[in-house]
């Protein structure tokens, strides 16, 4: 039984069902597909579905997220949740920030940035939940 469960065929099924789940989550939350796609690829991706290396899992997940984002933004647009023109100022800043971030990456110790990021996440998480019950 154990052998069947860990066989390549079964890993392929796990990857496929995981892929569908990643899509659903990404569609409902408008993002966050990478959180699921990366560990899935690490475990069940690759040639014989035996798993991919970390770096390749990240790279492959970017392409997956690109496709998922395109499809769901079309549906979000069609459903009228936003206008394209509203996004332009954010996107302009984003491109500028993305390039700067890639350069800064080498210079700033990211340990403390990550700590700041996590504290901010905790704060935002509480605020998000409390906002519902106001």
């Amino acid at each position: 039984m154990k052998k069947i469960l860990s066989s390549n065929k079964f890993n392929k099924i796990k990857l496929s069902s995981g892929a569908f789940l990643t899509g659903i989550i990404s569609g409902i939350f408008g993002g966050g597909g990478g959180l699921l796609a990366v560990p899935l690829l690490k475990k069940y991706g690759g040639k014989n579905n035996n798993g991919l290396e970390v770096k390749k899992s990240h790279a492959t997940s970017v392409i997956i997220i690109l496709f998922l984002c395109i499809i769901s933004s079309i549906i979000y647009l069609y459903k009228g949740s936003f206008n394209i023109t509203d996004v332009i100022p954010y996107a302009a800043g984003g491109i500028f920030g993305g390039i700067t971030g890639a350069f800064l990456l080498v210079k700033i110790p990211d340990k403390y940035i990550r700590l700041m990021f996590s504290l901010f996440m905790l704060y935002a998480g509480f605020k998000m939940i409390l906002g519902v019950f106001k």
């Binding site: 496929s16 892929a19 569908f20 990643t22 899509g23 659903i24 569609g27 409902i28 939350f29 408008g30 993002g31 966050g32 597909g33 899935l40 690829l41 991706g45 690759g46 991919l52 770096k55 790279a59 492959t60 970017v62 392409i63 997956i64 997220i65 690109l66 496709f67 998922l68 984002c69 769901s72 549906i75 979000y76 459903k79 949740s81 936003f82 509203d86 996004v87 954010y90 996107a91 302009a92 800043g93 984003g94 491109i95 500028f96 920030g97 993305g98 971030g101 890639a102 800064l104 340990k111 990550r114 700590l115 990021f117 996590s118 901010f120 996440m121 998480g125 998000m128 906002g131 519902v132």
Partner: protein, 128 residues
């Protein structure tokens, strides 16, 4: 102007590979008081150019595994189409609570790995 700065901040974080999308969503939804689904739509659209550019770089560097893509993309697309329609059916309050839980988990996970790192460094020092 504020919008441009928010874009820069989340761009900085996604350039570093940590949850730039989450930050954009938080700012738009919590601080600009936009509708939750608007924030999510922004988030999705914002990611397209970012993922396109870094995706091309990854393909060029031969880091992308196309065999996994063949399985993942069709099913992922089917899932995301279903999920996107579900997003407009599920009450916004539930989506917000779930987002809150995800953010809390992310924060806790990062804090744990921060302290693990500190500990490992200390061990390394005493070993040397």
């Amino acid at each position: 102007m504020i919008k441009f700065i928010i874009g820069i901040i989340s761009g900085l974080f996604s350039g570093m590979g940590i949850g730039g999308g989450a930050i954009l969503m938080i700012f738009i939804s919590l601080f600009m008081n936009e509708n939750q689904l608007t924030a999510q739509g922004f988030n999705l659209l914002y990611f397209i150019p970012v993922a396109l550019i870094s995706g091309l770089v990854h393909i060029y560097k031969k880091q992308v595994d196309f065999k996994s893509l063949k399985i993942f993309i069709p099913l992922g697309i089917a899932g995301t189409a279903a999920g996107s329609f579900l997003a407009f059916v599920i009450p916004v309050k539930i989506i917000k609570i779930l987002w809150g839980i995800i953010l809390l988990c992310l924060g806790i996970k990062e804090i744990i790995s921060f302290f693990k790192n500190l500990n490992e460094k200390r061990k390394h020092k005493t070993l040397n």
